[in-house]
């Protein structure tokens, strides 16, 4: 994973609420056995017509969306299926951050593990972003702030550990592997004793 520090980009805005992971990547693309190459199927059923041609009015197909790395979505994006193919597809397409007022739990977890920054902002900031699609904004991970010119910075929550991993481009498995002794100690205690705890 590449380290993330500051993401500066224009936004792509999808204002729908409850965008589920079936929309982000429909199930028929889940028979893959690799992570790569899912970007072309991102939002497939919204993005292409029955013959597989791009729908010109869908936001990702518009010229102004090219190269944008920040997706601003309506409340509760990523609900539903736990498929990590959703962040894989978003990352493969080129997104580095998802901004909303609520981000579904498993999707948020999966995003953090793939260098896709989940950014939960306050209602006012979100309303401004929805009203100003394509605005150039800045997301500063070290400061945990989303910055819009002419407005106060909007803080967003991010766990210290996830921030460390993203800033340094390291994955979480290394830390888990370093816990080997503690895991072995836990395993050596009989389940009976453990579960009565």
């Amino acid at each position: 994973m590449k380290p993330i520090t500051v993401i500066r980009s224009r936004t792509v805005v999808m204002p729908s609420t409850n965008i589920d992971t079936d929309q982000i990547i429909p199930a028929r693309f889940l028979t893959t056995t690799v992570k790569e190459g899912l970007g072309k199927s991102l939002f497939a059923d919204w993005r292409y017509d029955a013959d597989g041609r791009p729908k010109p009015d869908f936001i990702l197909n518009r010229p102004e969306s090219a190269g944008c790395r920040i997706l601003v979505a309506g409340r509760n994006i990523g609900c539903g299926s736990s498929r990590e193919h959703a962040p894989w597809a978003l990352v493969d397409h080129g997104f580095q951050a998802i901004v909303s007022t609520e981000i579904a739990d498993i999707f948020r977890n999966n995003s953090l593990k793939n260098g896709l920054l989940p950014v939960v902002v306050d209602e006012a900031t979100h309303a401004w972003l929805l009203a100003n699609p394509g605005a150039e904004i800045e997301i500063d991970l070290a400061e945990a702030q989303l910055r819009i010119d002419g407005r106060d910075p909007a803080p967003f929550p991010i766990e210290a550990f996830s921030r460390y991993c993203l800033l340094n481009g390291v994955d979480e498995l290394g830390y888990l592997l370093s816990q080997d002794a503690a895991i072995s100690a836990h395993e050596s205690v009989a389940p009976d004793a453990r579960r009565s705890g």
């Binding site: 690799v34 299926s81 999966n110 888990l176």
Partner: protein, 468 residues
């Protein structure tokens, strides 16, 4: 005196390898890792690339369910699997399990089935365990008083390599369900009503504990239906305190503890329920006795009304309007007018024996309406065998429904069992998202009873018409 603790807190603390700190999440030990063909290949590849071993093959169990065919000739007769990539994914799971020493209940195994159905059937799902799987409906296992939730593929890799997960401690939400469900109203109606009440993100960040008279009165299979859909309210996990109903279900299961180990387990399990006075971060209330059969009308499980009710009118809300346009339904009209093209009975939500019995009870001696295609897919091969032993398959066939081998099937249409564009499907599954059951498919979620009644009439029908 130790302070009173919730069921969740007891299970959580017993599995903390390292507690949460200001700088690091908790390290949580996993007692049971279930895995399947769709969300595991990239995790096994990661192990291989990093030269890691599978830490605990004895706590890992694999099956195949999502992309598998349901036609007998493809499962048992050697006929080719229609989707090449699905066939490849199935072979990949077989190879990965052989290479890493994972027990696989494979394509022709009599114990194969939807991962959330076979765990309880085998008795590996037990109270007090931590259970994970690369599938959001892992919440099903919480019906036994386990802490069970879905994870992504990166985390599948973490568990394969370390048998642990990094976790932020969730909050707790008590769902107090008073009263008793009236006749003809099911566990599915209960959970749909709850999601309608708290919304599809009402449970985000929480572990739910379903409590109260109505929950205590449910069978294990009904409890699984409730916990299964916790994720549709945004909660990763839902739990129910184990009790005699739980123990009766598990006693004698092939992989449940036996003899002295059973007695010891019972003693541990009886200590699990939330202590009197345990504090939840939040509580919601529901009155089971006031519920009716429920059905969804929109494009998420929170868009739900009683079968006898009308589609709400919320003009001007663009998201609502888009959902109505997709569904081709008219706000303000009775949902009972909605036509039906396809009926699907199955899935990890409602694919157990009691679900098939409920649908068969409505269908017995009746027929599926002309032009309606009904598919009945048992949740596991064991469910299929048990249903056939009591003649349920004959009732479905005689009514004009198709009877298939087990799997996820039309719940998500990965294996080619799909609903056509623009068609209306009454489905006993868990998600009515756009395109979930096929491109352009329109899904209405309901109980097996409602699905069967609607199959007979060819439109959305209150099952109580057939249950008197």
């Amino acid at each position: 005196m130790p302070s009173p603790r919730t069921l969740f807190e007891k299970v959580w603390s017993a599995h903390e390898v390292a507690p949460q700190s200001a700088d690091t999440p908790a390290v949580m030990f996993v007692d049971l890792h279930l895995t399947h063909e769709v969300t595991s290949p990239q995790a096994f590849t990661m192990l291989r690339e990093r030269g890691l071993k599978l830490r605990r093959p004895d706590l890992t169990l694999a099956t195949m369910d999502h992309s598998t065919p349901t036609r007998t000739e493809q499962v048992f007769g050697g006929a080719p699997i229609t989707i090449d990539s699905a066939a490849k994914q199935i072979r990949q799971l077989e190879q990965n399990c052989a290479e890493f020493g994972v027990e696989l209940l494979g394509m022709q195994d009599a114990r194969r089935g939807i991962v959330h159905i076979i765990g309880p059937e085998l008795g590996v799902t037990q109270p007090g365990k931590t259970i994970v799987c690369g599938d959001s409906h892992t919440s099903t296992h919480g019906a036994f008083g386990a802490l069970a939730f879905g994870i992504g593929t990166t985390e599948v890799g973490h568990v394969l390599a370390t048998q642990c997960l990094l976790q932020k401690k969730p909050r707790t939400l008590a769902v107090e369900v008073a009263g008793r469900l009236p006749a003809g109203v099911t566990a599915k109606d209960l959970i749909l009503a709850l999601i309608g009440q708290i919304g599809v993100s009402g449970g985000t960040g929480y572990v739910l504990e379903y409590r109260g008279e109505a929950i205590r009165a449910l069978s294990m299979e009904e409890r699984m239906t409730v916990c299964n859909m916790s994720i549709e309210a945004g909660a990763r996990a839902g739990m129910i305190a184990p009790d005699e109903v739980t123990f009766d279900y598990l006693r004698g299961r092939p992989r449940a503890p036996q003899g002295a180990a059973w007695d010891a387990a019972l003693e541990r399990w009886r200590a699990l329920p939330s202590d009197p006075g345990a504090v939840f971060d939040k509580t919601v209330h529901l009155d089971a006795s006031a519920l009716e059969p429920m059905i969804t009308y929109g494009t998420n499980p929170g868009m739900v009304v009683p079968v006898s009710g009308r589609i709400p009118a919320r003009g001007g809300d663009p998201v609502f309007d888009a959902a109505m346009k997709y569904m081709g339904l008219v706000p303000g009209e009775p949902i009972g007018d909605a036509p039906i093209n396809v009926v699907f009975v199955g899935s990890c939500t409602n694919g157990r024996l009691s679900d098939l019995r409920a649908a068969a009870k409505v269908l017995r001696g009746r027929t599926v309406a002309a032009g309606v295609h009904m598919l009945v897919v048992p949740g596991s091969q064991s469910v299929k065998a048990a249903a056939e032993a009591e003649g349920l398959d004959e009732i479905f066939r005689a009514a004009g429904a198709e009877w298939r081998e087990s799997g996820c099937s039309m719940c998500l249409g990965m294996n080619g069992d799909t609903v056509g564009k623009g068609e209306y499907a009454i489905s006993t599954s868990n998600r009515n998202f756009e395109g979930r059951q096929g491109v352009g498919a329109r899904t209405l979620l309901a109980s097996p009873e409602t699905a069967a009644a609607s199959a007979i009439r060819g439109r959305v029908t209150d099952p109580r018409e057939f249950l008197s």
